[in-house]
């Protein structure tokens, strides 16, 4: 007999084994030798540079993809044109493409062996093994989130109020910014939170295009892998825990936002 209690136990047991206990284990492992070695390991120049680089990439990627996301949401929610369904599917592509393939794609286009890459290299512009490549990879990977959150909200809000503002003399842009944008702000915020989390945590694509030079092109996720492979447990676990803390913060924000949306 499958009682409610049995089902609950099985479901929570699965979650505990796959999700909760591993996260608990890493917290415990990180601090098993006390706080000092961890603090030391995550404040080395390489670690600090990794933090800084990760934040820099995120700070470039999130605004770009937010502006694109809102613009694309407007196109999808308000315009009717042939190929709209195709556009809709293309936006979902980054969900379906392996990060490693994204990295390879960028290497093929912008690497020294590619025509564009060698042309750029002659002019002193380096994309691969440098910041621009890492930004491009992260842009690709985190592209769909704002679009996905904003489009349904935009549909629901409609255009009547914005049109009313227009008849009262507002320009198209200011009508959008002052009437519609406030109405969709929670959808945008939700999308921004997801984009930020994805950008902070990107690993596979960045691993390929960065060249992973410690202190130069090593992001926080690459730092974790590098130090884990070289048996620097304090460094790897410390940085991993910092990223996990950011993930938890994301989660809390998401939960808070969902509750607000419910109102």
């Amino acid at each position: 007999m499958l009682s409610k209690l049995t089902l609950r136990t099985v479901a929570l047991g699965y979650l505990a084994m796959v999700l909760v206990l591993p996260v608990g284990a890493i917290v415990w492992r990180t601090f098993s030798n006390g706080l000092a070695p961890v603090w030391q390991a995550v404040t080395t120049p390489d670690a600090l540079h990794a933090f800084w680089l990760t934040i820099l990439i995120t700070a470039i990627v999130v605004p770009l993809n937010t502006v694109f996301g809102v613009a694309c949401g407007v196109v999808l929610a308000r315009q009717h044109f042939p190929g709209k369904r195709l556009l809709d599917s293309v936006i979902n592509l980054p969900f379906a493409v392996s990060p490693v393939v994204v990295g390879l794609a960028l290497v093929l286009v912008y690497g020294q062996t590619g025509r564009l890459g060698s042309w750029l290299a002659e002019r002193g512009v380096q994309i691969i093994f440098a910041l621009p490549g890492m930004v491009l990879a992260t842009l690709f990977i985190s592209l769909p989130y704002v679009v996905r959150e904003v489009t349904p909200v935009l549909r629901e809000v409609g255009v009547e109020q914005e049109e009313a503002a227009r008849t009262l003399g507002a320009t198209r842009l200011s009508a959008f910014l002052r009437v519609t944008l406030p109405a969709i702000r929670w959808g945008v915020t939700y999308g921004v939170v997801l984009t930020t989390a994805r950008a902070l945590g990107e690993f596979g694509a960045v691993a390929i295009v960065s060249g992973r030079l410690a202190g130069q092109t090593e992001t926080l996720t690459l730092f974790v892998e590098n130090h884990f492979e070289s048996f620097d447990q304090a460094g790897a676990y410390g940085a991993a825990l910092a990223l996990a803390a950011l993930a938890l913060l994301t989660l809390l924000t998401m939960t808070g936002l969902r509750r607000r949306e419910g109102h």
Binding site: V23, I26, A77, F95, E202, T221
Partner: protein, 276 residues
Amino acid sequence: MGVDAARARPAARPLRAAGGGGLLRGLVTTYLSLLVLIPLAAVVWRASSDGAASFWRAATTPQALAALRLTFFISLAVVAVNVVAGTLIAWVLVRDEFPGKRLVNSLIDLPFALPTIVAGVTLLALYGPRSPLGLNLAYTRAGVLLALAFETLPFVVRAVQPVLLTIEPDAEEAARSLGARPLTTFRRILLPAMTPAILAGAALAFARAIGEFGSVVLLSGNIPYRTEVAAVHVFTLVQSDDPGGAAAVSVVLLVLSLLVLAALNLIQRRRTRHAE
């Protein structure tokens, strides 16, 4: 998303609000092409530039075949795990009441928020060589399965949950009061309503699983023919300066995920029609 489409208002007449212009559409399409389409086209171009025979040879080297086969079957297995566990978790979160339910509900999204490499390190802390449980899954296929199960956990749960919320518990209770056993009630009342959502979640989980890299790379040990998944194989090929081979395997992965996404599109369109 489909439901929202059904709720959408009819197109505004002479579009005076922002969004009327073809300019915006042009900008959006350009951004998308530069960022997504052209790089992906470059992968397909590189894979096919030396002819079909050469593509086939690169995509079917013994090591590539082994990696692709492992990826495909282990992703299927992960989807099966998710379909059962995800549906169960969704049911418990909707129909059951217990202290801490809200917390559990927010925890479901953790795999989406947690960077993949951190997931790998995290799983190794519990299921690695110095496992406090005495359960060492490092460098095994079971380890790969575990990593993928972790990464794909939210898909089915989050797809099924809203559907279950729309089904009144009355129907289940009525069936039970008429003498149906719990399993029959589940099969006849809940399952038909949930199936499209389960399939949608399963498709997303599959697409995610076949491309997964970060969480697997540490846990699997990347032993060729044993635990090396396709994404890791592509990575190895890129590192060993074989972009042609990497592109060929990537194209196979791309085609697989596109097929799955197309199937998902079909499911969702049918669902929207149902909603109407």
